[in-house]
Each structure stands twice: as C-alpha cells, then as structure tokens.
C-alpha cells in the first residue's frame, strides 16, 4: 500500500516537474545570454494561461469538437502570441537598458511584472477563471484497492513537454540560430564582431523562453482548469528555483532541476504537509544558493576583471 502512495506521488511529481522545467527554460536561457534574471517571466506564464483559455473559448465558439485538434491549435496559438509578449517585453523594457546601471534591468523587470498583472486584472477581472475539462480518464495500474493512477492529461503533459524539449534541444544544438545563441552566451562582444546579430539573438531567446513558458501555461491551464492573474508569482519563483537547482544558464540543468523540484515537492506535500509545500520550495532555493550557487550542472562563475 505504501508503495502505491509513493509511486503516485512520484508520478504527480514528475508531471509537475516537467512543467517547472518548461518554465525554467525561459529563466535559464535569458540568464545565459544577458546575465539577468527576467522577473517578468512568471507573469508571461500567467498571460499564456489566459491566452490558452481564451483560444479554447474561441475554438469552442466556432464549434470545434475534436480534442487533439483543439489541443494542438491552442498550443500553437498560445506559443505564438506569448512569443510576441516575450519579444515586446525585451524590446520595450530591457533593450534600452543595455549598458545602464546594474540595478536598472531588475527594477524594469519588476515594473513589467506589475504591469502585466495589473493589466490582466483590469482587462479580465480579478476573479478565478476556469476552462472545461478537455481530457478525462486515467490508466490504473495495480489491484482494485491499491493502484497508481496516471491520468490521460498527465500523459499528454509529459508527451508535450518531452516534444517541446526535444525540439528546443535540436534547435539549440543543430541549427544556425542555436549556434548563434550559444556563441552569444559564451561571449557577446566577440560574437558581435564575428557577425552575429546579438540584438536579434537576444530577442530570439526571449521569444523561445516565452514560447516554452506558454507550453507550460497551456498544459497547466488544461490540467487544473483554474487560474487567476496572480499565479505567475509563485510559479515564477518555483521555476527560478528549478533553474538555479539545475545550474542557471544550462538547458539540461533546467529540465533536471524542474524534475527534481517537482519530485521533492510532491513527496513533501504527500508525507509532510501540503500547507507548507510552497515554503519548502522557497526554503530549498535559499539552501541551494548557500551550498551550491552554481547548481547541479552549472559551472562556477569566474568574474574576470
């Protein structure tokens, strides 16, 4: 019986972790190229949840019944529109601040975060929003009394996260743009000298980050069915914890960190306390920063003068 509870928590944890990983990608890639924590990233995720719900409602309005078609359409449209968010935020709030004081981009990011939250609250209302259940049902492994339940939605989440990560890894490792991203991450100045349009690469990175966050946002929205304008805050800190856990700046690190955070959080919630699971995640962040600030897969940063 205990085994089944543990297995169930592990399944839930991995699903949650995949989402954390998707959102952590945005933090880690942006940090990689411009060495800055994009505080507005959690709110980009929140915006994507709203866009996904709106797209779903519009599809429903036009009488789309096919679930796979609806799911893929929602994912694509949400990714594209949220990508535009990423691009515009970079263009408006971060690009003018290149070469400004150290504190300026951070404060600007806080400003964007407040703007997005407040904008969504004014436009859509402060109450909780919901989406209908799209995919129900589950696999059950085990006997009638003791079983592990894997919902079809969890399978979809894992599959979609895996596909998104696979595409991203391919793009970063094997395409022209990916090579330029990695070059910019290594050394922006030298890359610019060698003909990489670093401004465009930075924009691209923001778009990619927003896009993966949008995949996460869509999946969470469809899975839990309920969201409000404030969800980005806690999710932002947790995804950042995942990014730091894996080593900020490292793409596989973000995925690993996300999975680890999801697992430990699910186990904590299952065995210790659900009230304090957020406290656990934040405390974990402080502990990692104390003992291993460069994370599991990151390199210690050496500051050259």
């Amino acid at each position: 019986m205990d085994f089944y509870i543990l297995a169930q928590q592990l399944v839930n944890g991995i699903t949650l972790g995949a989402i954390y990983g998707l959102i952590a990608v945005g933090y880690t890639m942006v940090y990689g190229v411009i060495r800055m924590i994009n505080f507005a990233h959690g709110d980009v995720y929140m915006v994507s949840a709203y866009i996904a719900a709106i797209t779903l409602a519009v599809l429903h309005f036009f009488g789309v019944q096919s679930v796979p078609f609806a799911l893929i359409t929602v994912l694509v449209i949400t990714c594209v529109i949220t990508g535009f968010y990423g691009w515009s935020i970079e263009r408006v709030a971060y690009r003018p601040l290149r070469g400004s004081t150290k504190l300026a981009p951070l404060i600007s990011a806080i400003g964007i975060s407040l703007m997005l939250q407040s904008y969504v609250q004014i436009a859509q209302g402060a109450r909780d929003q919901g989406v209908p259940v799209l995919i129900s049902g589950a696999f059950r492994l085990g006997s009638d009394r003791d079983f592990v339940q894997i919902t079809y939605m969890q399978v979809v989440i894992l599959a979609a996260s895996f596909i998104a990560m696979a595409i991203l890894t391919y793009v970063i490792n094997h395409t022209q743009i990916g090579r330029q991203c990695r070059a910019t991450q290594q050394n922006r100045g030298i890359s610019a000298i060698l003909g990489v349009n670093t401004d465009r690469i930075i924009s691209t990175v923001f778009v990619i980050g927003a896009g993966t966050a949008a995949v996460g946002g869509t999946l969470v929205t469809i899975n839990y069915g309920s969201f409000n304008f404030f969800i980005g805050f806690v999710m932002g800190i947790k995804a950042f914890t995942a990014a730091v856990l894996g080593g900020i700046g490292s793409l596989p690190g973000a995925i690993l960190g996300g999975l680890l955070l999801g697992l430990t959080e699910a186990l904590f919630a299952g065995y210790v306390s659900t009230d304090y699971k957020d406290v656990f995640a934040f405390a974990l962040l402080i502990i990692i920063l104390f003992f291993r600030p460069y994370g599991l897969m990151g390199q210690p940063e050496i500051q050259k003068v």
């Binding site: 060495r35 800055m36 924590i37 505080f39 915006v47 709203y50 866009i51 709106i54 797209t55 409602a57 519009v58 429903h60 309005f61 529109i81 535009f84 968010y85 515009s88 408006v92 709030a93 003018p96 400004s100 004081t101 150290k102 504190l103 300026a104 981009p105 951070l106 404060i107 600007s108 806080i110 400003g111 964007i112 975060s113 407040l114 703007m115 997005l116 939250q117 904008y119 609250q121 004014i122 436009a123 859509q124 929003q129 209908p132 805050f233 806690v234 800190i237 914890t241 304090y276 957020d278 406290v279 934040f282 405390a283 962040l285 402080i286 920063l289 600030p293 940063e301 500051q303 003068v305």
Partner: protein
C-alpha cells in the same frame, strides 16, 4: 527643418505607427478584446483597438518629438541640468538649518491643525516614508535589490501583536526590540546570499517575503492565521489613551486634567512616528558621510574595484541590509499600533513593490526624493480613489519609464564632501564642484 526631410520623416513615422499598431494588437488584443466569462467569452473589440491605437500613437509621438530638432535640444538641456551624474559637495556649503528646523516644527505641530482622517493619512504616509528610507539604504545606497522588504515590516508588526499576546510586550518595548529582531532576520537571510551574484539576492528576498507570509497564514495556533491578531494600543509613561483605564490605571486625559478625546492616541502615534522618522533621516544623513556609508555607495558603483582595495564586501553589504531591515521593523510596529490589528494580507508582494516604487521614483539614494515620493504615492491614491484600479499599472509603467529615462533618479544626487570644511583645505583643492559623470 528643411522640406526635403519632411516626407521621409512622415513615411518613417507612418511605418512605425503601423508596425507598433499591429504588434500591440497581437499582444494586447486577446486579453483586452476577449473577456472570459465562465467557459465562454464576450468581445470588447473597441477596447482592444483603441488600446493598440493609443500605444501606436504614443510611439509615434515619442519618435516625432525625438526627431524634431527643438525638442531634442530641449531634452538634451534638461538631461544636462538634472540627474545623470553626481555632484560632490565642496564641504563649505551652508547647511540649511533654518529650513530644516522650520520643517521639523511644522511637522511636529501638524496634528493640532488636522482632523482625524487627515491625521490617519499622514500617519500612513509617514510609515511609508520610514519604509522608503529603510529600503533606500538597501537598494539606493548599497545597490542590493530587496524584493521581500515587506517581511521585515511584518516581523515588526507581528512582534507587537504576538509579543503582547504571549509575553506581554507593550508598544515601547516592541519599538526597542523590533529593530534588533528585524535586523537579525535580515542577517540570517542575507548572510548566505551576499557572498554571490547580486541578482540572486533579489529572488531570495522575494522567496523569503513569501515564506514569512505563508507561515503567518498557515500557522493558525500561533499567529491566528488569516484572521490575524490584535495589537495593543500605545501608552504614554504607562498612561492609557482610553476613556476609562484598566484596573488600577489612570487614563491619559484624567492625569493631565484635560477633556477626553479619541484623537489623543493618534496624536501620540503621529508625534512618536515623526520623531522616529526624523531620527532615521538624521542617521542616514550622517551615515552617508561616514566611511561605512561611503563604502556602500562605492560597492554599488564598482564591486570588483572595492574588493581589490580590501573592502570587506560581505560585512559592508550585510550592514546595509540589516540597517534597512531594522527600519522596516520599526515601521511595522507603528503600522500595528495604528491599525490595532494585523493580518497577513497587509504583507503581500504588492506592498514590497509599492515600497520599491517609492525608492525608485524618489531617485535611488536620495533621502529627500524618497520622502517626497512616499508622501506623493500614499496621499495621491487617497485623493484619486476613483482610479484605485489603475494604481499598480501606473506604478509598473513609471518604474520602467524611470529606468529607461533616468536610472539614477529624478533628483540629482549630491554626495557629502570628501574633506573637512576648513577654508584652507578647500582653497588648496578645486574651486568647482567635482563632476563625476555616469
């Protein structure tokens, strides 16, 4: 401007307008144009279009203003005259004692002219001045972004509420303990983080603020959870401000033989708060001239240079962080005693963001600017209650605009002199104010 340039400019502006309009429509359209209602939606097409049009018009206006010669020249002149760099005092400037004394006396006698509502707003404004001054030490002077400042505010407030409940602390004892407790919390939090990359501090403090709030909400037996906890009323030399005192006590008005008024309590809180704010302003003023304060600002400007000169960066940052936290704790005690009640909803991230907005708009590092911004940002929402919805949105926009336009604040920073104000020393060195460009 000659005629040949004009059509080119207009075409360029039109292109820009179209581009911005399309992007704004894609970005802002779905959320403002299609409002979710349950599982369905209603369309607000006009709102989405007008919003995108406003954004496009704003963009064109800015490009147009920057494009014309008169405006760019005016802007240049404006930029030269304010903000940007730092003026270092020569050391022989006259300190405006008369003005300071006048402001001090006016502030102190304020409650005798104000009614209860205005006094309440003034107390709240002064609490934010105190919070702003505290965060200004951390963000403005030392350059450490603290996004969980509200946690120290909560520590102070809950110290009074829970302290009176469990160990019988009063207002005065809480006022003495709060800075030390909040500073201690700040030390525990910041010590591990200050050794590494500056950006991490921001997110760790953000997490810490949230931990404090979640613990206050969830630990029902100790803190009262979401229902909060009552905070005791203040006493003056053991005299209470109630109509009839508790057993064996004498109320304030009977002791002095004056008629009872419910306002005395607020007068008392205001005056103590005003004295504490004045004390903090004075301390910050002195600190900036002391080696420690100079180290804060030096570390903010160039950490590597400071460390290579042997500055203990961890201690220096820690001292700033702790002093800031202590000030936040003080403000918390005043908040609790003024409200008579505390609960976790007063200590959300929005509160931290509001305090940060005060510091940013006040011009990071300028005491005068921070006081002004705190007064404006707390009094303005009282006046413009109809636009309360848009308050946070405006703060966000202002923060971004300030960072793009004037990352060092609206008020030009003056730095205390580097040498004693003796006449001979000044003559040997330069006769002009040093200009340190940014």
């Amino acid at each position: 401007m000659d005629n040949a340039v004009k059509p080119v400019l207009i075409v360029k502006l039109a292109k820009e307008a179209l581009f911005t309009f399309v992007i704004a429509l894609i970005v802002l359209g779905p959320i403002s144009g299609l409002v979710l209602e349950g599982f369905s939606f209603r369309t607000e097409l006009a709102r989405a279009l007008s919003l995108a049009a406003v954004v496009a018009a704003g963009r064109v206006l800015i490009s147009f203003l920057l494009g014309t010669r008169i405006c760019s020249r005016a802007l240049q002149r404006f930029n030269r005259n304010s903000g940007g760099g730092v003026t270092v005092r020569k050391g022989d400037e006259k300190f405006p004692y008369a003005v300071i004394a006048l402001v001090f006396m006016a502030g102190l006698s304020f409650p005798f002219f104000a009614d209860k509502y205005i006094l309440g707003v003034a107390i709240l404004a002064l609490i934010y001045v105190l919070l702003g001054l505290g965060l200004n030490i951390v963000v403005g002077l030392a350059g450490l972004l603290d996004l969980g400042f509200v946690a120290f505010y909560a520590v102070g407030a809950y110290l009074l509420a829970l302290g009176s409940q469990y160990i019988g602390l009063g207002f005065w004892s809480a006022l003495l303990i709060a800075p030390f407790l909040a500073g201690f919390c700040g030390m525990i939090l910041a010590f591990p983080v200050l050794r590494m990359h500056g950006d991490y501090l921001a997110i760790v403090t953000l997490g810490f603020g949230e931990i404090i709030r979640l613990v206050l909400t969830n630990w029902l037996e100790f803190t009262g959870g979401p229902n909060g906890a009552p905070a005791p009323a203040p006493t003056f030399l053991g005299l209470e401000f109630t109509r009839t005192a508790r057993q064996g006590g004498v109320p304030f008005h009977e002791y002095f033989g004056i008629p009872y008024s419910a306002d005395y309590k607020f007068w008392f809180i205001y005056i103590v708060l005003f004295l504490v704010v004045s004390g903090v302003v004075y301390s910050v003023h002195r600190l900036r001239a002391m080696p420690l304060g100079r180290l804060w600002e030096a570390l903010r400007e160039d950490e590597i240079a400071c460390r290579s000169l042997g500055v203990n960066h961890v201690f220096t940052k820690l001292s700033a962080f702790m002093l800031g936290a202590s000030t936040g704790g003080l403000a918390g005690v005043f908040f609790a005693v003024h409200q008579g009640f505390v609960n976790p909803t007063s200590f959300t991230f929005f509160e931290s963001a509001l305090i940060l907005a005060i510091v940013v708009l006040g011009g990071l590092g300028s005491t005068f600017g921070v006081i002004l911004a705190a007064l404006v940002l707390t009094i303005l929402p009282e006046v413009l209650r109809d636009f309360a919805e848009y308050r946070v949105l405006v703060f966000g926009i202002l923060m971004v605009v300030m960072m793009i336009w004037k990352p060092r604040g609206l008020v030009r920073i003056t730095r205390p002199a580097f040498f004693p104000s003796s006449k001979s020393v000044v003559e040997i060195s330069t006769n002009q104010a040093l200009e340190v460009g940014r």
